[in-house]
Symmetry: D2
Subunit: 354 residues, 4 copies
């Protein structure tokens, strides 16, 4: 950490800062600048709280943190990439992973049918919401435990591992008893009790980036899970909130590429929420993979205009299959692979359609 004194700081101010630094068993080294002095602080255990403490002292202009505030999530401390195993699927390796399914679980027919459709097209994990965070208390909020049971039925029917959201610490146990990976939604990215409880569940945890979370805050949320001894964390960029209202959110692919560099954890992208418009999902899916994402999570509904939620951003089966074909085409150009032999055999028209 560096302390920047202001130009009117007195020698006593500087002395007080050095004294305070030594009270924390740290060392301060002064560089005298033209307009002001700076103090470099050396030692371990330097926190943001120390910065706030020093900034409230007389003569201090501001502090600048040098090192990253996260360790377990950092590539600097863990250079090799992490591969998270969810059922029989490896996330973070060379193979592009596609998680697909409806926004909400609505009925046995809907979820089993969708699971079969997305599996046939090459998806290897099933998504579906049983607990839905909704802005309005009057909106459909999911089927709850019944939804979890239906997800389990769909898994039994297809073999696809299941990813579903958990919204509160009390529900972690029941959700973990059905799901293969727990999803922490964007609104809950800084719900720290939930992160820790999810971490303790032993299940892989996918953390969606909050609507206005910095990359650093996102990695610190991962740190909360990792600090519970659970190494199986997957990051998911799902669009940030900006001034632009033409799209529902702004999918931030800078963040995908940068998170891959800063961290060893796998990074997925969610173009369904990231754009909010089904017709933008395909180009942004391709772009996400080209930016380095390890996979996608996509909303697919057998009949989007009958969906109980998020119909406008859901792909129908036809468009999803076209997208999968395009992904299969660009994957090798990016030194990635996609999908299973079943898919390649089952959909011989891939190359032609793309």
């Amino acid at each position: 950490m560096i302390v920047i004194m202001n130009s009117s700081a007195t020698p006593a101010d500087l002395q007080a800062v050095l004294q305070r630094v030594s009270e924390h068993n740290l060392t301060g080294q002064v560089t005298q600048g033209e307009h002001c002095d700076i103090v470099g602080i050396i030692g371990s255990g330097i926190t943001n709280d120390l910065g706030s403490e020093l900034e409230s002292m007389s003569g201090v202009d501001r502090t600048v943190r040098i090192s990253q505030p996260y360790k377990l999530a950092s590539r600097a401390f863990h250079p090799q990439r992490t591969i998270v195993q969810v059922g029989n699927v490896a996330i973070g390796g060379d193979e592009i992973v596609v998680i697909a399914g409806p926004c909400s679980v609505e009925s046995e027919t809907q979820i089993v049918e969708t699971a079969r459709i997305v599996q046939a097209a090459g998806a290897t994990l099933l998504r579906g919401g049983a607990y839905k965070p909704r802005t309005s208390p009057y909106a459909f909020r999911g089927m709850g435990v019944k939804g979890l049971e239906l997800l389990a039925l769909a898994r039994a029917a297809t073999g696809l591992p299941v990813v579903t959201e958990v919204m509160t610490p009390q529900d972690v146990e029941v959700v973990a008893s059905y799901a293969d990976m727990l999803q922490i939604g964007a609104r809950n990215m800084q719900n720290y009790y939930l992160l820790e409880e999810a971490g303790r569940s032993g299940k892989p945890v996918m953390i969606k980036r909050g609507l206005s979370a910095t990359i650093e805050e996102w990695l610190l949320s991962a740190e909360y899970v990792l600090a519970q001894g659970n190494p199986n964390v997957v990051l998911c960029e799902r669009g940030i909130r900006t001034f632009e209202t033409a799209t529902r959110n702004t999918l931030d692919l800078n963040a995908v590429a940068y998170a891959k560099r800063l961290s060893h954890l796998p990074v997925l992208a969610d173009p369904s929420h990231g754009t909010g418009k089904w017709h933008l999902v395909t180009p942004l899916s391709l772009a996400s993979i080209a930016a380095g994402a390890d996979g996608l999570i996509l909303e697919v509904h057998p009949d989007p205009d009958r969906a109980l939620s998020d119909g406008a951003q859901s792909l129908n089966p036809h468009n999803f299959q076209r997208l999968m074909n395009q992904l299969a085409t660009i994957a090798p150009a990016l030194s990635r692979t996609l999908g299973t032999v079943a898919m390649l055999e089952g959909l011989p028209t891939h190359a032609k359609i793309a």
Copy 2:
């Protein structure tokens, strides 16, 4: 709700929309525009989910909601202002309410001393964090139940009602057993289980606006509490996240004035978090009241540069007293009152210092 068809929509597309509208027991009325048709939907029970459903139909460009999605929080349905009673303090009336205290409860001496200082200067409620949401898992996260006990001691010593944050549904019961008003923090504004549990506690609930929450989303979070039959909701603007990094957040006083107009609920402002710099707290406090805020929540620490958290944005006792004096001076010019007789007698120098 209005459905805007796109210019290439066919008569069959339009017919399908009207058919779908009638399936929902609603009526659609068509206006033929120069480039496209629009359908006005009439009836009750029109939801955002209906909008998403219709937007995924062929030929539909977009939908526009007409009515507000919140009812209980809306001034349209409840024209008279709500006054929330917290202990012996009324929030939302003519008197400006000042809630003050440290970011975190740190010790009995610290919290009792601070309570006495802020009371002497005219604050009528005490704040102090026992459960602290922290971006990093390695930061100080509050004293927990011990902190609640110390807040109760400070209340016993001064008579000031206590406001403190609750972070997770399981903790509502214990926090409500100590606190006079529950605070929902910005990170938890859309933690719906927490909102509902806080609503059921019967205690007044103060909801801080999320870092990137729209005014509408903020009022919908209030709706979650109100829908539990708890009418005692207080809104608190605490700064939004924008591109500007010179200040920690951007205190949005447009939102204070607009929320007062849209809703009957009291609205407070938090210039400590809203600016992140103690030297901006005074001008922004005055501005908040001038914009129509019913009161303030402020971080005051007897010794900010020894605070365990948020020292840089905390007022020391001297600066807090100066601020209170200035508030007392402008209050009558805004047809508001401030504070108790005790304060006016105890600090006879108000008018001179301001």
Copy 3:
């Protein structure tokens, strides 16, 4: 400037940085941290370009600038406040200055009538657009020179000095021949040729903050004018673009208070553009003054629903007079004065209405 090396930097990388620093006739002083080294650079003439240059060198993580990039606009180099004289009006002193008038000059009757109305209510400068920047090429773009002539007529009729926008360097001469203060609009805050030409005109220059300009960038735009030897610069906050769409922009009163602290230049606020809703103009005007603004610029139209532009955010004469009365009431509480004797005599009902 501080250079932060990354943790894998080699001694040769560090040596190269020190060598480069000395090529610029600057001195580098190394502090060895636990995870990485930092280099403090000492000397004058340190620029952002140097930062970019160093950041592209091997082993460099990032650079941090220490000193402010502006000098002439900085309070650190010019501690006493600047008072800008526009005709007979002083901006930046104890008196609150109110600039009022229509968005666009539309006719002789409209501008002269408006000038008389705002003068009667206490405004001391007249605004009115002759050249209008419009998002759409098909919108009304102002009357041009004819509009300037009408502004001069309104000044002759009332004695009010005139403030009007100039959009391009070629027009500075003609606009300066009519106007008493040149306005640089938000869209042109970084139109550097325009800033310099306006600076050279010798007229006072009011610089509106750009829609997404940081406070630092705003002060650097002031620096462009000041560097032409023109000390008469007035800053104007007019709302920034954020995610919130309930209001047209977000009036940033943090920035008003902070700019007053960072700079010696007067700072005005524009709640008409800052909110976009006439009913929010009054509370935000009061808030702006309470935050420390030296005055206001307000859109007033004799008949807002007949305005050729910006009707929705214009005050009508009645609401403007009410606002002026409220300002007169709070001004003394903030140790400010408002208006002329003429106003106080002409509107004896002030105190009662407020």
Copy 4:
């Protein structure tokens, strides 16, 4: 346009709105909703100014525009894609176009050498700044006409057409006499005199999206050029300003895909400015093309750490060549082509390196 009355509007308010609509020779059609009435306005010549006018009338809550405010830039009115010819290069066709070169022209050697390097790697247009918009008045602002002459020399040496920025209307003539395509920078996206003057030059015009411009505003700026009778407009996304500070800007690839859908004009992406970090340029370049961009504009410097500006985001020749090879690999997977025969022959190792 739709007018939404508020719930307390009187029949007289509604009548006044209908009367006003008919004064504009438009027709209003009323739909009576449960809580409020709406008026659909039919006819041509409906402007945003009409919306503002109506919103200031009694009883009106708000207005909603139905049709796009741009015509010439809209794909609805011009379904086939536009191909802009710049010298011998077609922008907007199947071939991916890469414009490359230094941020600033610094010397004959620098620009000619860079031109040769980027040409050898497959770039087909040369960029280089002669007039540089700089936030600080004390930064290097380009070589001016001398820079234009050096660009012409580099074109003569390589045959690459030249793209360079023009900052003010007076300079359009001289810049157009040297450049093959004029660049309007992000800060000048709403400099309307400049847009029109550039439009009248007859040269192709590339319009960078403003830092906080919506897609609609960007297309309206294109409309300004198109309305001068100049059909040769190229759009360029270069990153927007968001809350995220880890990257210099946030490259908005949603906007690339959406602009391609809304407009027939070619769309390029600028990952150098869009990320501000050279190591993110490659993944975001690939992502831009995958999202549908027609090409890239990239900063390449023979020796980035000696660049007079923007070194930190410039690729060196080695990294640029690697990027070109990767582009050549993914192009066919996206049904695009890249580059000239010269490139394919000159760099036989492409396939192997990628």
